[in-house]
Symmetry: C2
Subunit: 132 residues, 2 copies
DNA sequence: CTTGACCCTGTAGCAGCTACAGGGTCCATG
DNA sequence: CATGGACCCTGTAGCTGCTACAGGGTCAAG
């Protein structure tokens, strides 16, 4: 079983774009890997795990800084886990706020849609509704 | 009744940030106004109307390019109004897609939340769920 | 005449990537 | 041994939609 990967393999294993991996390294989210004789990045299984963690958290919408905090916490197994939960709860509130905002938008758009059946722009209700 | 405004007044009238107004001008969304002797921008009521239009459309989540197209259409009153409606419908679909995405996220986060009651990070279910 | 509120341009920053340009490396083929 | 193509490297610029300076000029009140 192999433990060493190039950046391309790591990308395939985790589903993360190569450029994004380098970006994560640049901002200090993914630790700098060792280098081969030809200056290629050499990743080990720890990197695969860490990057998978990052991708899942990002998929759940966590901002980079929240991911950073969760990673820091997961590196200190003897700390209470409430902080992690707080991050999840905060993120859920954020998502709920966004949903509420979008629901309001959808209602507005719904009222707007199909108000101009075949007419001309000159008496379009939509344009009218957006005008002062 | 006044028809001339400085950028600050225009900002207050429309609720748009001054820097944003200049940005809209730079990207060609708001036409360049006349200038005073001291090189101040001088806005007229047409600008107030146009910027109000822009702000309302942006508040509804329309991307800048959609706003640009709607403005172009509203400048041609003799064209059919179906294109405007198409933009509204497209924007509504976009909003609905985002809502669906966020609902899925919310469900995931809900499953995740409160899985670690008072425990330590070392056996936190959340961290576990994010790990490979 | 000075103060303070306003305005000007130009540039850089935010999030979170993505996309080059212009090179170097590695390995399988002929 | 040479060559081709797939991969990798760094560094920088672009995307959306603003926002925030820095370092100046203008204008009206007191």
């Amino acid at each position: 079983m192999s433990v060493d990967h190039t950046i391309g393999t790591l990308g395939k294993l985790t589903g993360v774009n190569i450029e994004t991996i380098r970006y994560y390294e640049r901002i200090g989210l993914l630790p700098e890997p060792a280098r081969s004789s030809g200056n290629y990045r050499v990743y080990r299984d720890t990197h695969v795990r860490r990057l998978t963690f990052i991708r899942k958290a990002r998929d759940l919408g966590f901002p980079i800084e929240a991911v950073r905090r969760m990673l820091a916490l997961s590196d200190q197994p003897d700390r209470p886990c409430g902080e992690v939960d707080a991050l999840v709860v905060e993120q859920m509130r954020e998502v709920e706020r966004k949903i509420a905002d979008l629901e309001r938008l959808r209602a507005e758009l719904d009222r707007l849609a199909h108000q101009c059946r075949g007419g001309l722009v000159s008496d379009c209700r939509i344009i009218e509704a957006l005008s002062p």
